[in-house]
């Protein structure tokens, strides 16, 4: 009855050998909380098309969830992903080693960031969101912008990509919640200061034309509040829960300016001033119980 099965698994095998293989892995954080890991994956088709701001959806194994992750970097043949081991799926992903392959990988998904010369821009990254602002910072710098970057982490050990961001920024500010590195406090403290006292270094770039923020929802929400007061255009990249990530399920829907949008196909970037943050925050907690349950089981 299933004569085709051997053949099928052979085909799957061949596909696996050439694609979705992890070619590099680095742990970016020290033991201070959930680990943040960087992996490079062989995927020429996605690598060729990837633009800053886009993401992929992946499955670690056949029984796994489909999870969206931002494409942090791409070469001719590989893409780079950075993730924090926050739940079961990211923990399983973190267990894969160089040479292992993913079960599924699709992309690049979502709209790319609009890269142009805005003049002066501020990028705000919090936690693992720092990884997601890197490709955008790099592209905006290349497009001739004056790039100011604010990085925030809970503590020094969880701060990632400082050097990489420094290399694509004209100015770099760092905050930690506990004051173990950089300025003690939140990214928004620095942002507020920058927006109210335009630094002299900007010269001909003019006042800040764009703020681009990625991080935990409370952070993005606060960033949007600060920039609203200063009336600065603010783009955020949302991390809604997704399944197919191609517009089919509507799981990632978010209210933007009172209209229902799908993060996967209409986003993932939206105007931070128009996002219904309260709703989004609640929607991301819809499976908290199951997440706890499955994480406990797998311990």
């Amino acid at each position: 009855m299933f004569a085709g099965k051997t053949r099928k698994s052979l085909q799957v095998l061949v596909f696996f050998v050439y694609n979705m293989k992890i070619t590099r892995k680095d742990i970016l954080t020290k033991e201070a909380g959930p680990r943040i890991t960087r992996i490079e994956i062989l995927s020429p088709d996605i690598a060729r098309k990837a633009r800053p701001g886009q993401f992929i959806a992946l499955m670690v194994n056949e029984k796994g969830e489909r999870i969206p992750l931002t494409i942090v970097d791409a070469t001719q043949t590989t893409i780079t992903l950075i993730f924090q081991e926050a739940g079961l799926s990211t923990r399983l992903l973190g267990k894969l080693n160089v040479g292992d392959s993913l079960y599924s990988l699709v992309g690049p998904l979502g709209h790319a960031t609009e890269i142009k010369n805005y003049g002066s821009v501020i990028l705000v990254g919090g936690g693992v969101g720092i990884a997601e602002i890197y490709p955008v910072a790099k592209a905006l710098k290349k497009a001739g912008n004056h790039v100011t970057t604010i990085l925030g982490a809970r503590t020094k050990e969880l701060l990632i990509l400082e050097k990489k961001l420094a290399s694509v920024s004209d100015e770099l500010h760092i905050t930690t919640d506990d004051g173990s590195y950089g300025k003690k406090g939140f990214v928004t403290d620095v942002l507020k200061e920058l927006l109210t006292h335009t630094p002299k270094t900007l010269g001909t770039y003019g006042p800040t034309a764009l703020v681009y923020a990625v991080g935990p929802i409370p952070m993005m929400k606060r960033v949007a509040m600060v920039t609203k007061d200063s009336n600065v255009k603010t783009i955020v990249s949302l991390n809604a829960i997704m399944i197919d990530a191609t517009g089919m399920c509507g799981c990632c829907r978010v209210s933007v300016d009172g209209k229902v949008k799908f993060s996967c196909i209409d986003g993932p970037e939206f105007d931070g001033h128009l996002v219904d943050w309260t709703e989004l925050e609640k929607r991301t907690k819809v499976y908290t119980q199951q997440e706890k349950h499955i994480c406990n089981l797998s311990k």
Binding site: A3, R7, Q11, K63, G250, V260, E291
Partner: protein, 479 residues
């Protein structure tokens, strides 16, 4: 011909509503023979024209009566690449069975007396599958070097791929998800279409030489132009009606308000009913409400009820519909099955708002009562809300199954591909060719939501046009 129709065996409602095993068990050989024996072999059989792909129903039923199941299998396969699927999911009461001589004219659905053509088709299809019957293939050697790309592995894509491959064309199917089958996999639950049946039919295509590339989104991973430049002679788009419709009412974004697509995708494609063995969760409530009257609504409600039973919650799942049972577009069999299993039906109700708790989870649904007014463009009587009839229903999980809209992932990046006001792809109805030369389309992306077999009908038409297109183009090149 006074013989009574042969009832098909089913798992008892009390047993089947506790898991996802197949509900309809199908005919045994004696049952199939008895049912086939009821066919009058009409001189001018209307049933054939009632079939969107034109299966020679009269002939295959005759072959069943002669116990020549192999021949019957080949008769069906001549027109239909997926008898075991269609025998399970076709709304026969609107199609072949409605056209059967035993159905009186002007009846809304097939009469119960109409020959159970779909069950016979299933019997024959499963016979072929279980005996590894391989339909003789007449390959056209001149097509062996031709490559055609099929986008999407749902009913339309699979059917088009099969038709082309049987003629010798090299077909590559590009599928966005990690598994093939499209709506047959993510939409239709295993209790209606067991996965081994679906896998068999897809493997059959692979045996014909069809290659399936999963995790590949045309429009994102590659464009249509790139496919052409890689040497594909033609492209068939079976993109499906991928985007769930919502009602646009207050509270629709509360937690635990699902689109039917999301709910069913979690359960079917991601196997959330086996959580935590499978990692994708789905929330199960104490009062689950499914809104809609189509097959998707029935599938969602029956899945919801099963999840309640499997999680030892009281079975409390309702279908809420604006009209009445008679206007429901669902298959009559699904409606009957849902009722038997304990799904409650509440008619003439229109939701107007979802009300949530402090954590943003839905807890109540505010509704209006309706009455039936004049028929609308669909010919069904229109539901008219009654003023001042507001009331609330308890609801901790809601599933919205009110229809789908076109997925624009490909069309939005392909401006040359003309679409209508619904963003469906416009085709020449004779050839299914789109506004781009060499690009054909079929299924739900053309003309909106339809049935599996209608999608296949379009795909077959397109496959004929693709062959003609290839040959014509070949000739042009020779000159």
């Amino acid at each position: 011909m006074a013989k009574e129709p042969v009832k098909v065996k089913e798992l008892a409602a009390g047993i089947r509503a506790k898991d996802f095993s197949e509900v309809v068990l199908g005919y045994s050989e004696p049952e199939a023979l008895q049912e086939a024996g009821r066919c009058t072999q009409c001189k001018n059989p209307a049933c054939i024209s009632g079939c969107p792909v034109g299966i020679d129903i009269k002939k295959f039923i005759k072959q069943v009566t002669e116990k020549d199941y192999k021949a019957a299998y080949f008769t069906i396969r001549e027109k239909n690449d997926f008898p075991s699927i269609c025998g399970r999911v076709c709304p026969a009461e609107y199609q072949c069975r409605k056209a059967c001589i035993f159905t009186k004219k002007n009846e809304l659905f097939a009469s119960e007396k109409a020959i159970n053509i779909h069950f016979l088709e299933r019997f024959v299809g499963d016979h072929g599958m279980n005996n590894s019957l391989e339909t003789p293939v007449k390959k056209d050697g001149s097509l062996s070097k031709i490559k055609v790309a099929v986008v999407g592995s749902g009913p339309a894509g699979l059917c088009c791929a099969g038709e082309l491959a049987r003629q010798g064309v090299k077909v590559v199917i590009f599928e966005g998800l990690h598994k093939s089958g499209g709506v047959l996999r993510y939409g239709i639950p295993p209790f209606r279409l067991p996965r081994n049946i679906l896998d068999f039919e897809i493997d059959y295509l692979k045996k014909l030489g069809v290659e399936i590339v999963p995790n590949f989104i045309i429009g994102k991973t590659k464009t249509l132009d790139e496919l052409f430049s890689e040497g594909y002679a033609a492209i068939f788009l079976g993109l499906g009606a991928g985007v769930p419709g919502f009602m646009g009412i207050k509270g629709e974004n509360l937690c635990n308000v699902y689109s039917a697509n999301e709910f069913l995708t979690r359960v079917n494609l991601m196997s959330a009913y086996k959580f935590p063995e499978f990692h994708t969760p789905v929330n199960i409530g104490k009062g689950m409400i499914v809104i809609g009257g189509g097959n998707t609504a029935m599938d969602a409600a029956r899945a919801a009820l099963r999840l309640q039973n499997m999680n030892k919650l009281p079975a409390n799942t309702s279908i809420v519909y604006r009209r009445t049972e008679i206007e429901m577009p669902a298959r009559r069999l699904e409606i009957a099955h849902a009722k038997e299993e304990g799904v409650k039906f509440q008619f003439l109700i229109q939701p107007v708002e979802f009300i949530g708790d402090e954590n943003g989870f839905v807890k109540k649904m505010k509704c209006l009562k309706c009455e039936l007014g004049e028929p609308d463009s669909s010919g069904r009587r229109r539901p008219v809300p009654i003023k001042g009839s507001e009331f609330e229903m308890d609801c901790d999980v809601a599933v919205i199954a009110v229809g789908l809209e076109a997925n624009q992932v490909l069309t939005s990046v392909t401006p040359q591909l003309k679409t209508d006001k619904y963003k469906d792809v416009i085709v020449d109805p004779e050839t299914m060719e789109t506004s781009i030369k060499g690009v054909f389309a079929g299924g739900d992306i053309v003309g909106g939501e339809g049935t599996v077999i209608e999608a296949m009908g379009m795909a077959k038409k397109a496959s004929r046009a693709i062959i003609e297109y290839i040959k014509r183009r070949g000739n042009v090149q020779k000159n």
